[in-house]
């Protein structure tokens, strides 16, 4: 028995070493950096220990803007994308001819490169001196005023970002939800039919509870993913997100490390830990709710 225990640890050793080096050690390091004031990465020196970095970051307008952007993004894209995915997969589940084809079509954005999709969105939404872009042509067709979605007002940029994010995250959700829907035993629906259950009630009282574990999984991972948004914004607005007012928390962390204003690992660490605290809180709340609701 004792010998076996050692054997088990031995088998685990490669994984532990690997995770230790690349996950645990950096985590601890980030934690330490965030409390070291005036850390200099070249000389590896610092003045003192305290909450100065947090105070600085929390007062910086760029960081606050990034927090606001991230929250707007999360609050809009997670519910909308999950809801839309639910509608689409419920629809997919109902059609029989060409079901496979439509499933593939809905999954395509998932395997498409983020930057390529970003480029397409740029072409669709951008307004230049020479052309208005597809969307603006449509808006004008219906008598509206053309807007520059990439370089224009804040709400327009935010709208495009949300659209783009929803577009990117939806295929995975559709995939998960169609398989969840398909795995519900058809006898439940037969029983509901014999009992004259109205369609809406079938959906809310049978389908939704049956797939609720999957929905909550998608909501939780959706929140986490949206809080970590960065590459989508780069794909749309380029690397200077602060200038575009479109930065996210992860974007801010990146800028603090490597951006034009970079070279401040302490500020980056503090910002990263703030993000960590936010994600942890939201995930705990989610889990608490799902404990209650999902069986």
């Amino acid at each position: 028995m004792h010998k076996n225990k050692w054997k088990a640890w031995l088998y685990l050793l490669p994984a532990i070493v690997f995770l230790g080096f690349f996950l645990v050690y950096p985590l601890i390091d980030v934690f330490v950096y965030s409390f070291e004031e005036g850390y200099n990465s070249a000389s590896e020196t610092f003045f003192g220990v305290g909450l100065y970095n947090y105070r600085y970051v929390l007062r910086e307008p760029f960081f606050l803007q990034a927090v606001v952007n991230t929250f707007i993004l999360v609050i809009i894209t997670v519910p909308v994308s999950t809801g839309l995915a639910l509608l689409i997969s419920a629809g997919l589940n109902h059609i029989t001819p060409l079901k496979k084809l439509f499933q593939t079509i809905y999954f395509l954005p998932y395997v498409t490169n983020t930057l390529a999709v970003g480029l397409v969105f740029m072409v669709l939404f951008k307004k230049t001196a020479y052309s208005d872009g597809m969307i603006n042509l449509l808006i004008r067709l219906f008598g509206g005023e053309s807007v520059d979605f990439i370089d224009g007002p804040y709400w327009a940029k935010m709208m495009v970002t949300c659209l783009y994010t929803i577009w990117i995250v939806m295929p995975f959700k559709v995939l998960i939800l169609t398989s969840a829907l398909a795995s519900v035993n058809p006898d439940y629906y037969k029983a509901a039919r014999v009992d004259a259950t109205p369609p809406w009630r079938v959906f809310t009282r049978i389908t939704l509870p049956m797939i609720s574990p999957m929905i909550f999984y998608l909501v939780i991972t959706g929140f986490i993913g949206a809080f970590k948004a960065y590459s989508d914004e780069v794909a749309l607005f380029g690397v200077n997100l602060n200038a575009a007012n479109m930065n996210t928390i992860v974007g801010y962390v990146y800028d603090m490390l490597y951006g034009d204003s970079g070279g401040y690992p302490s500020y980056a660490s503090a910002a990263a830990l703030i993000l960590f605290a936010i994600v942890l809180t939201i995930t705990c709340i989610n889990l608490l709710i799902s404990r209650r609701r999902v069986r």
Partner: protein, 366 residues
């Protein structure tokens, strides 16, 4: 509510290109299920029992034919408007709802003038729960109950909206042997109390015989025989029905009729008045064998098993289809167990003759 099936047919299109022909799951059903009776729909796996039940329920639409509930033609009515209660083989209880919520579910669906007040619903649900004796389990979830209890909940859910017809698709097949016995009595009791016309599907002949007022024996989508269980058992119309009913099963011998006499091997065993000379199958019920020193049918004796009240004589005969003949005899009938052979007389009423070509029953004049 009596149910009339008229030329009811269901054909499933064949999707398997290698095997030609469509699947005729139900072929030209013509019979009437009397009001307030319990009917057992009986047949081997894949013979179309579930399909027939789904047609009555409305979950499947017939390819041809009509279904009447009483005098109403319900053929084109969707299941929700037929007023049927359906118990599924796996019960299909909603796992996230409690027993009470499950039973309430059909009532909460009622709309318009049939809508009930909350109190009436609760009263009805409790009444249904009481009928199937699950009053103490109302707050449980299906996952927290035994198979037998779940089954009762399923019946309660089907009964709560007082359906015109109750349909049960192999409701006992998920239960163990003892529970199955108990529960089938329970179904019988509930049916007697409610007097709802009930169709009960099973592939277990004993189950069907023990609780049905009438049984419908079917094979490959075709009805073979309809009648009270005892009648069908005593007077099967063909070899399939004779073989399908009864445990131990009938022993089928290849025999021959010569000069109005049935021969098995070379032995003349029974008179067969009015039948022409031909090759036949002779099906003999286990209780049709009477051991007797002068009996014409001589079999090789394998053993004698005592089963309490009766004894079971195990023997073999070269003309018998199965390697083993089982005869049930009263315990006091003497059998010489030391001997290698045993001789039987045959009871004419327990020996049925069937045509070798068609398997149809041949009836000797009495």
């Amino acid at each position: 509510m009596k149910i009339v099936l008229s030329h009811l047919t269901k054909i499933f299109p064949n999707r398997n290109k290698k095997v030609g022909g469509d699947v005729v799951a139900v072929s030209d059903f013509n019979f009437t299920i009397p009001d307030g009776k319990l009917i057992g729909l009986l047949g081997p796996s894949g013979c179309g029992k579930s399909t027939a039940l789904n047609l009555i329920c409305g979950l499947e639409t017939p390819t041809a034919g009509k279904i009447f509930f009483g005098d109403d033609d319900v053929t084109d009515l969707p299941p929700e408007n037929r007023g049927v209660g359906f118990v599924f083989q796996n019960y299909a209880l909603y796992p996230h709802l409690t027993v009470l919520q499950n039973i309430l579910f059909p009532l909460e669906n009622l709309r318009g003038e049939r809508k009930l007040s909350r109190e009436t619903m609760l009263a009805k649900a409790k009444e249904a729960a009481h009928l199937v004796q699950i009053d103490e389990l109302l707050e449980r979830r299906p996952g927290e109950m035994s198979g037998g209890q779940q089954q009762r909940v399923a019946i309660a859910r089907a009964l709560v909206k007082t359906p015109r017809v109750l349909l049960l698709d192999e409701p006992l097949s998920n239960l163990d042997a003892r529970l199955r016995l108990q529960t089938r009595e329970e179904i019988r009791r509930i049916q007697r109390e409610t007097q709802i016309t009930t169709v009960f599907v099973t592939h277990d002949q004993e189950e069907a015989m023990s609780i049905s007022d009438e049984i419908v024996v079917m094979e490959s989508g075709v009805v073979q025989q309809i009648g009270p269980p005892q009648t069908v058992y005593d007077d099967p119309v063909n070899l399939f029905v004779a073989k399908f009913l009864g445990t131990p099963p009938v022993s089928v011998f290849s025999g021959e009729i010569r000069a109005e006499m049935l021969y098995i091997g070379d032995a003349p065993v029974l008179e067969a008045k009015g039948l022409r000379d031909q090759a036949v199958w002779a099906g003999i019920r286990p209780e049709g064998f009477v051991p007797s020193p002068e009996g014409p049918l001589c079999c090789r004796l394998t053993g004698v098993e005592v089963m309490g009240r009766d004894r079971s004589v195990v023997a073999s005969h070269p003309s018998c289809q199965s390697p083993e003949i089982r005869a049930i005899i009263p315990a006091e009938t003497p059998v010489d167990t030391a001997s290698d052979t045993v001789r039987f007389c045959l009871k004419p009423a327990k020996t049925h003759l069937f045509s070798r070509e068609s398997g149809e029953r041949l009836r000797a004049a009495v």
